[in-house]
């Protein structure tokens, strides 16, 4: 009996969803700079979205990572082991949430062309991840000489991914690319939700410029869109704000960080289970805008 119901659902979803151009009832976008950002600052929303949407064929979650998160603080060439470990940690976070419903399945790995740019795309159930792999701005130090901030401020004319797969010729090129990704994945879904760092530095003081400029990129990409809900998250500063999550929500964010850290340490990276990150786990601050 269960088998017939499951087959019917798969057939229905296949009819409705061909590749990414399916008609979803709702799509939730998380546009972040680093592979651990949605877990630390938007973890409860993302967890709930992934759990609900993987239990519902009509919805999906989009995770768009703008930088590789290579943290090349030593100024050397970005170490693939470093950013690949962070990416794997992010995938494990997704799996942890998505496998609460349904069976464990293999990931689908694609490289797709968007406006001539080759972009890595991972799909796990109803969770789709785009990895733009732009250079990590290293918290404003811009050690590699390229960053989202420098591109936005026209201090560099182009930015090349850390794996040298593509180059964006200016902020407008990057903005148009993200706009096209959003348009393709939204596919006329009636309910669109966007989650990103609050780009207003008066509200979100002290955040990593990568996060701020990922937020600005998101705002530019959705400019002109109507009927959307937007959550703008405060990030680094929340460590100094009062604890405002209940025990279960803290546990959920900790569970996500645990997945990130397991891979980091296994691959020889420093632990992310730090005092500062632990403070983020018990706090969640954002503002909501409906357009």
């Amino acid at each position: 009996m269960i088998g017939i119901k499951k087959i019917a659902l798969i057939l229905l979803s296949t009819i409705l969803c061909i590749n990414s151009y399916c008609q979803y009832a709702a799509v939730s976008f998380y546009i972040v700079a680093h592979p651990d950002q949605w877990q630390l600052f938007m973890g409860n929303d993302a967890f709930n979205d992934i759990v609900k949407k993987t239990g519902n064929e009509q919805s999906k979650v989009m995770l768009i990572y703008t930088t590789a998160g290579d943290e090349s603080y030593n100024g050397n060439t970005p170490d693939p082991n470093h950013y690949l470990a962070r990416e794997e940690g992010a995938r494990n976070s997704v799996e942890f949430c998505a496998d609460i419903h349904g069976d464990h399945i293999p990931w689908v790995l694609d490289r797709i062309l968007v406006r001539g740019h080759s972009i890595l795309k991972y799909t796990y159930k109803n969770v789709v991840s785009y990895l733009l792999r732009l250079p990590d701005g290293c918290n404003g130090n811009n050690i590699s000489g390229q960053s989202l901030q420098l591109l936005h401020d026209s201090l560099v004319q182009s930015i090349t991914t850390v794996d040298s797969t593509t180059t964006y010729s200016g902020w407008a090129d990057l903005d148009s690319t993200l706009r096209e990704i959003v348009g393709n994945e939204a596919a006329n879904a009636p309910h669109l939700y966007f989650n990103t760092a609050d780009a207003d530095t008066a509200t979100n003081q002290g955040d990593d410029p990568d996060n701020i400029y990922a937020g600005k990129l998101c705002m530019d990409a959705i400019a002109g869109m109507q009927g959307i809900s937007l959550k703008l998250f405060q990030e680094n500063k929340i460590a100094n704000l009062p604890v405002n999550l209940n025990d279960k929500d803290i546990a959920t964010k900790a569970a996500l960080l645990s997945q990130i850290d397991y891979v980091r340490t296994m691959r020889g990276l420093p632990t992310a289970w730090t005092t500062l990150n632990l403070m983020y786990l018990s706090r969640n601050y954002f503002r909501t805008i409906t357009k």
């Binding site: 609460i100 546990a251 569970a255 645990s258 397991y262």
Partner: protein, 385 residues
């Protein structure tokens, strides 16, 4: 002699004994592979952190395989391996926060009880895991369970992977004692034993495997006489108030996250259930325990049970003290775990009691008396000449 042979075996099989100089050894007795994370997680996390820095050691003793073959689902062999993988992930996650990633070493070791037992032993830095893989008794107390071995409903109990079989409860107790003796260098270290609380007055309606594993750990602690014992609440804790700080919740949740990942990664259902009103996530946000006895206090508490004379030839006088009105059970076993006599099995008022037992018909040998009353388990060894 058997213990010495086992230790020699361990040396021959190239098992690391680099922990011999450890200052503290913390044992966590878990009936199932997720018990220490869910119910003792904060303590275990801190102990693993310290052990990972190299100054102490943690020993995890999993009594059952946790195969959860409770409802005629068939033999789910991969399930217990998935839970074991999850438990190992929990260890590695926690340990790698505090020192660099290392490799696991796994081997089969021979530990003696009444007979020799092949037991899976894994080490990760200073964290040692023993997987006894006895059958999961399920909440319904299946016949193939530690509880049924302890109450002598069954005479022996075989590991789910057929690696060994325990001939009586005493065989199991002695095996555990020998593990403790070996890992803590026969009492040269400060020893803490952490296990489920077996007292229904403080740990209501817990899983029988948890309770019996708690009894097993306490019994071993009482006999070795150099251990401190902490007893933890289990299922019931979810009905109590959350009592953990945010960082402590993170510890338990982080451990539980890895356990769940071990399950789902191998195709089994997740244990992460925040929507449930009394589920795993609730347990991961609470941690209730009591210090049952310290090494010094254990000796004092044992004086509540006294025997005269010892060694004995014929009649023996047994004195015991009841601190709280309630059911009392006093039983006599030989050293092979065979029940020889039920000396007391009734409700008793507070007081000091003496019974005379005619022991003349007992064969020559060593015997053990177990006295269970609400909140207490005392054991006493004597010799029959």
């Amino acid at each position: 002699m058997r213990q010495i042979l086992s230790l020699l075996f361990l040396l021959i099989t190239n098992i690391s004994i680099s922990f011999a100089q450890s200052q503290k050894v913390s044992y966590y007795f878990a009936a199932h592979p997720d018990d220490w994370q869910l119910f003792m997680g904060v303590n275990a996390f801190k102990d693993i952190a310290a052990a990972s820095a190299g100054n102490s050691k943690v020993v995890l003793i999993y009594t059952t395989a946790g195969e959860y073959n409770c409802y005629n689902l068939g033999v789910n062999t991969p399930y217990y391996l998935s839970r074991q993988a999850g438990a190992n992930r929990s260890v590695q996650f926690c340990s790698d926060i505090y020192s660099p990633h290392a490799t696991w070493n796994t081997s089969i070791v021979s530990i003696s009880g009444a007979t020799n037992h092949n037991i899976l032993r894994s080490t990760y830095k200073n964290i040692v895991s023993y997987y006894l893989r006895l059958p999961d008794g399920c909440f319904e107390r299946k016949n193939t369970s530690i509880s049924k071995l302890a109450d002598h409903t069954v005479r022996s109990l075989e590991a789910v992977d057929s690696s060994t079989s325990y001939r009586g409860y005493e065989d199991l107790v002695r095996t555990v004692i020998n593990i403790i003796d070996f890992e803590s260098n026969a009492g040269q270290s400060e020893v803490w034993i952490n296990a489920s609380d077996w007292d229904p007055l403080t740990n209501l309606d817990d899983h029988p495997d948890h309770v019996q594993t708690g009894l097993l750990a306490t019994e071993a602690a009482n006999r070795i006489d150099y251990a401190n014992v902490a007893l933890f609440e289990g299922y019931h804790s979810c009905t109590e108030a959350s009592n953990l700080a945010p960082d402590e919740i993170a510890m338990e949740a982080g451990l539980q996250s890895q356990l769940s990942f071990g399950l789902t990664d191998n195709g089994w259902e997740s244990e992460w259930d925040p929507q449930d009103s009394c589920g795993h996530v609730d347990w991961a946000t609470r941690n209730y325990f009591r210090v049952y006895s310290t090494a010094a206090k254990a000796k004092v508490s044992n004086t509540g049970l006294a025997i005269n004379p010892n060694p004995i030839r014929n009649t023996v006088n047994l004195t015991y003290k009841i601190m709280e009105k309630g059911p009392v059970s006093i039983t006599l076993f030989d050293s092979y775990g065979n029940l020889k006599a039920i000396l007391v099995n009734e409700n008793k008022d507070i007081g000091i009691y003496t019974i005379n037992y005619e022991a003349g018909m007992l064969p020559t040998g060593n015997y053990i008396i177990y006295a269970r009353s609400s909140g207490n388990l005392n054991t006493l060894k004597f010799m029959k000449l």
